[in-house]
């Protein structure tokens, strides 16, 4: 079962992208649903953490005591705010804000500036090659750990857009951008990966 963490953010777009991707994986039966409580997190094989505000999502994880249950899940797909929520180290966190430290990367929050600095850019790599994706008040990945592989960079730059990390019994895929706004390609890549693990 795949859950989309529906505390705050663009969880509806993620749900839509996942459902569309799941249809293309005919042979594999997947249940996909929105989750908000400890109980709902218990049955999951994978969790998607959407874009939104990382401060808000962190606050809601804390107040609903979800951290331990989230940490038990094997596979993750996280974008933007979700990436910050899982990152090991973050520059620009609020004093009271913590992260779950599951993804071995260092991230800078709001690295490009305000909404006026949001942009579309072509990315290149193993997924979404040559596709334009939205970077909205996006974070920047400034360092990656030895177990982390770069899946895509912003075209003609060294800037990392999407990463993948193998964990003990699963994978984490993280993006600084929002592929889910325009396509189901990253959702498809993720579902395919976790189906054959």
């Amino acid at each position: 079962m795949v859950g989309v963490l529906a505390l705050q953010g663009n969880f509806a777009e993620h749900l839509e992208a996942l459902k569309s991707a799941a249809k293309k994986l005919e042979k594999i039966k997947l249940e996909i649903k929105l989750v908000r409580t400890k109980q709902e997190l218990k049955e999951l094989d994978a969790l998607v953490i959407p874009g939104g505000e990382s401060t808000t999502i962190y606050r809601l994880i804390k107040e609903n005591e979800l951290e331990q249950e989230i940490k038990k899940i094997k596979n993750f797909l996280v974008t933007c705010a979700g990436l910050i929520v899982l990152a090991k180290k973050v520059e620009g966190l609020e004093r009271w804000q913590k992260t779950l430290k599951l993804l071995d990367i260092e991230v800078k929050r709001n690295a490009y500036g305000t909404q006026l600095d949001s942009f579309y850019a072509k990315i290149e790599g193993e997924v979404l090659n040559n596709k334009e994706v939205a970077f909205i008040r996006a974070p920047k990945i400034i360092k990656i750990g030895p177990e982390v592989k770069v899946l895509a960079r912003i075209k003609n730059t060294s800037e990392i857009a999407i990463v993948e990390q193998k964990t003990k019994n699963g994978i984490i895929i993280g993006a600084t951008c929002h592929p889910e706004l325009d396509s189901d390609e990253l959702a498809f890549y993720f579902l395919k990966k976790i189906s054959y693990l």
Binding site: Q8, E53, L60, E94
Partner: protein, 293 residues
């Protein structure tokens, strides 16, 4: 579609399931952020005080907006007067993340709203019916705020307008092309595609928050159960007796709006809510939600 517009509606989508809180200084902005607000609205005065004073209300002092921007890392919104495109230009120069062309401030232009396509910053606008909402979207708004009666702590107008828009969207269901063309004319919108998209989606084609009069956990959850994507809370937080606690509870309410047990738990012991005003006691010409057409 136009990528610049998609970035605007994209940010609006990231705000969904969230609470946008009115703040008037850095300290309030920090409380709002710590409570879990997805954005703050930088203001000179909250609507309850604007209402009490009854003076011309304008865009906030840039100094205030800068102070609030410096205090938080979440998006900062600011209000300009309806039709006042120079206030909007100034807000864009200040690099706010969203501009609210708002009826809470005094109207600057009785005939025209701002041509929002000329800006790179996204706009949110108020609407009390489908015609207003679609006109605002046609002018370039990336998000709609269903108008309530700001500064009253009374949810009745917000609910009325949420229901009005819903009824008008439902009425589109079996309309023919010709009927939609006639309606577009009646609604004073040029692009019939906008009506067709609304008909197909069975909702507004942009993110739609509720605003005006939200004072409690139950108010916020009511708006969400009626299909809103999130809420604005103005005077309801900082005019209550325990702003941080109430703000935190309303943030939870917007996430768990469908879970009555959680709502019961988080509603408990929040202290005194803001004083409310009976709408009938406000003469129609003093109702903020009647401003801007």
């Amino acid at each position: 579609m136009d990528k610049k517009y998609l970035l605007k509606t994209g940010l609006a989508k990231m705000l969904k399931g969230g609470v946008i809180m009115d703040v008037t200084n850095a300290a309030e902005a920090k409380i709002a952020q710590a409570a879990g607000a997805v954005a703050v609205m930088a203001l000179e005065k909250v609507p309850a005080d604007i209402r009490k004073e009854g003076k011309v209300a304008r865009m906030a002092d840039p100094k205030k907006i800068k102070e609030i921007k410096k205090a938080v890392s979440i998006p900062v919104m600011a209000k300009c007067r309806i039709g006042h495109f120079v206030e909007a230009q100034i807000l864009e120069a200040l690099e706010v993340d969203f501009i609210d062309e708002s009826e809470v401030l005094t109207v600057a232009d009785e005939e025209y709203h701002i041509d929002k396509w000329k800006f790179s910053v996204p706009f949110v606008c108020g609407a009390k019916n489908l015609a207003q909402a679609l006109r605002r979207i046609e002018e370039g708004a990336a998000m709609i705020r269903t108008k309530g009666e700001a500064g009253t702590g009374n949810i009745v107008q917000a609910i009325k307008h949420i229901r009005t828009i819903q009824k008008e969207i439902l009425a589109l269901e079996n309309m023919t092309e010709k009927e939609l063309e006639n309606l577009a004319q009646e609604y004073r919108i040029k692009d019939i595609e906008l009506l067709k998209e609304t008909q197909r989606l069975k909702r507004l084609p942009v993110v739609n928050f509720a605003a005006g009069g939200i004072a409690t956990v139950a108010d916020a959850a009511l708006c969400m159960q009626l299909g809103m994507d999130g809420v604005f809370v103005g005077s309801g937080i900082f005019k209550s007796s325990n702003p941080l606690k109430r703000a935190r509870a309303i943030v939870q309410a917007v996430t768990h709006y469908n879970d009555k047990k959680i709502l019961a738990k988080i509603s408990e012991g929040l202290g005194k809510e803001m004083d409310g005003i009976e709408i009938k006691k406000i003469p129609p010409e003093q109702r903020l939600s009647e401003r801007g057409n």
